[in-house]
Symmetry: C2
Subunit: 490 residues, 2 copies
């Protein structure tokens, strides 16, 4: 397995005393006994921490992947963070540090000496350093900026200037830059020299003297070309690039669309300022999906994994929408309130309120979720509104019709004959007509409201199921009572 993190692992500095202390074959490292290599055995590692067998633990950890060691930290008691972190070889330590959640990073930094802090900071890629500065409180930021080189401080400050969700905010400034008059051998020599410091070397960018992006060459191109070929002749000069200010979700979608490993980021003058790598694009896509899941289900997104989010944080992310939706349900109550007398004379109508409300809500959220996802995947935009509407109306007619027919049968079979309720044909007709009209209204609102909201520049995800449900509830009750008073002469 190849990763941008692990190649530094190949020559960890193993102090002689540690290597000597533990005979090679007593290692409890995973994979020695299994056929197939798996990640770190976290329980075994925790046991070693418990027993303070740090030398064995060190042996075990230096063979492990940074992402797995980060998972170990999630399980560690707080007071052990610093001890276990100090066991790690210097470069591995920095790689693990990047993988940790920001609250863990903060605890570690606060326990670091200045020397330890510098060691970690030195190994960080610039985008990771900028992320760190962004997430730490002011006093920690001050210490961080005091302990980096003036050059790194400048780069970090540059990166922090980009708007929060822009391409600039997720790009790294470390990449391989080639000139078009270099030969293939020159280029390979340059890559050999700088490779250790660059986040991704497989895509190299060709710039002119003014840093304008003029081409791209992959290491595969270099390996397949004659040694003395000129970069200008083998480079691809149609380069897809993104602007620093472009939304990071669009950047991720572009990387996914073109199956790219990296995408160059240029400023307003087409000067190459950074690259976004595929692993960062994956993170953006995952965060985006999680945010959409949260918003579509009446929650504010939280950043931490579920088990590490406190009940109070969960409460905060959930209560706002619950309150808002509860209060807005007052309107539904008002509608029922104004038909109280009609309901009193035909109490059996109350029976159907939950069924009508639920079916309306479900129909509406089906349409809204489909449209919201299609919007966020870039499959549709506001100008498609008529195509979407025409499609949804036909779906609604099909769904509404089927539901009405089944409901009609169910009302007589279950409600009248089995439960013995006083149901007449006109009542059944009112219920089934309401059902059909509710489904059509729900699909109509479910597909148009998200499009409208996105057209107005808001996030359509907040228009998803809970909000649509509240509106559809009101609509279905109004239709229900209007039909009932008219057809049943209440």
């Amino acid at each position: 397995m190849e990763t941008k993190e692990t190649e530094k692992l190949q020559t960890p500095e193993i102090p002689e005393e540690v290597a000597a202390e533990v005979p090679e074959r007593t290692l409890t490292a995973p994979g020695d006994t299994e056929e197939q290599e798996r990640g770190l055995d976290i329980d075994a590692a925790l046991a070693l921490v418990e027993e303070k067998r740090y030398a064995t633990l060190r042996q075990m950890l230096r063979e492990a992947e940074p992402a797995d060691i980060a998972e170990l930290f999630d399980e560690l008691p707080k007071q052990q963070y610093a001890v276990v972190f100090r066991i790690l070889p210097k470069e591995l330590a920095a790689e693990v540090f990047v993988e940790l959640d920001s609250d863990l990073q903060q605890i570690l930094i606060e326990s670091f000496s200045d020397l330890e802090l510098r060691n970690v900071l030195e190994e960080l890629y610039m985008d990771d350093a900028a992320d760190l500065v962004e997430e730490m409180p002011a006093n920690v930021v001050k210490r961080i900026l005091q302990n980096v080189t003036p050059e790194a401080r400048k780069t970090v400050n540059e990166l922090l200037k980009y708007p929060e969700d822009s391409a600039g905010s997720i790009m790294t400034t470390e990449f391989v830059r080639l000139k078009q008059d270099m030969s293939v051998d020159d280029a390979i020599a340059l890559i050999r020299k700088v490779a250790i410091d660059k986040e991704t070397i497989y895509t190299c960018y060709v710039t002119d003297r003014n840093s304008h992006l003029i081409g791209v060459v992959t290491v595969k191109d270099l390996l397949c070309a004659p040694h003395d070929a000129k970069i200008a002749d083998i480079m691809e000069d149609h380069v897809i690039s993104v602007n620093t200010l472009e939304d990071k979700e669009d950047v991720a979608a572009t990387i996914s669309k073109y199956d790219a490993l990296a995408l160059p980021v240029v400023d307003a003058e087409n000067r190459l300022v950074g690259i976004v790598t595929v692993d960062d694009a994956i993170d953006v896509m995952q965060d985006e999906a999680e945010e959409d899941f949260a918003k579509m289900n009446a929650m504010l997104p939280t950043e931490k994994p579920y088990l590490r989010t406190s009940p109070f944080e969960l409460y905060k992310s959930r209560i706002v929408w619950l309150l808002l939706l509860m209060v807005s349900a007052t309107f539904t109550g008002m509608i029922i309130g104004s038909f109280e007398d009609a309901l009193a004379t035909q109490a059996v109508l109350t029976l159907f309120i939950p069924m009508l409300m639920d079916t309306g809500g479900n129909s509406g959220s089906q349409a809204s979720v489909t449209v919201i996802r299609a919007l966020s995947l870039g499959e549709i935009e506001f100008s498609d509104v008529m195509r979407v509407l025409w499609k949804e109306i036909r779906v609604a007619a099909l769904c509404g019709g089927s539901l009405a027919v089944v409901a009609f049968g169910k009302i007589f079979l279950v409600d009248k004959w089995i439960m013995g309720k006083p149901i007449t044909v006109p009542i059944a007709i009112v219920v089934c007509l309401t059902l059909m009209m509710t489904v059509i209204a729900a699909k109509f609102l479910g597909c148009t409201l998200p499009l409208l909201v996105s057209k107005l520049g808001f996030d359509p995800a907040v228009m998803a199921s809970p909000f649509i449900t509240t509106i559809v509830d009101a609509v279905s009750l109004i239709v229900f009572f209007a039909l009932a008073t008219t057809l049943l002469h209440l």
Copy 2:
């Protein structure tokens, strides 16, 4: 930008007559006038098709990315597919073909001569060929298998044997295989020789004489090592691999966790049989998120983009759950039915039914969606049930308490004073107590049911909002009427 698809583009065969026909500077290719390079101008391309200016179109398309040309096909009228496809240079044509939806692929294959079919098939990677065979109807499959080499036929048949959602089903068999006694120069020479045929060359796998996976070397390692270093000395021998039968979603999660570009796939005897690349992992993750969105909102997943899904296909994906949920709402109706007499004496209670049902439903879906996503991201598993429960109970107490307090105020302010409903303190207490208990029950069910369902081996996503809502509706009504009859002596 570097992609596995585009490197073949550098030497397209341009027939002289076409190149000569159109002067270089009259090209309407995108990016010539803009500072920043963007994708294909689809409207301009469509206009060229309309005007039958195929030579200009060919010039434009051969500079474009396969993914962009695939988007052009989405907009083309059916009868133009074959014409435009034949304009493309041979290798580009195959790359575009892979990007097309399967219904488009089928139309094209049916219009191909055997020679044209062979040309496309020759250029396909084995995993793409297997996907194609999987999606085509029997008569097309027969034609495909008749037109590939016996060797390719064998590989495709092997790939088709893996279960649908397994690592084996998404892996490619084309990768660079090294021996441990090779030198760095040998390895680079081998890569140069085979690179053109391999889907990903940046991660090379080292196997012993029995094809067992024993190490991994990246091209970066090779470039940074001395020319005469032995592969055995520079390879990473702790290789994270997956089994052919492992779930493809777990494979994607592993790639994401380790920021890997590719992951080796081994059989039960640890023999290396293929690799999964990061771009395929991204597709798996996206499909997975879309499936979860669909299932959590009472839909069966559809595979096609929204605008290309027919109303009848949408109907089929939606009606099953709508019917099921409508019929299950019968129980809610039955509960209301059995309290009809109580409601008749205190009609004002009906007012609060929508508010209680909606708040319960929203609270439940907040918990269920959070838990389902945490499950599918591997953050929690069934054994965490007590931790999850304890967390959700506290969140529920906080949410329920806040909602009850606000509801109490709202009932007097809005319902009693503004709307003039006959509300007494006992009625308000019944409503607020019900609200609190409903929220707690909703959060309890919302977090436990998905865990239980996943423990039983089913997909927890189907336990999401709509299903939870139906159950919580029933619970909230039972609590409401039980409290009302007891406290209000109905």
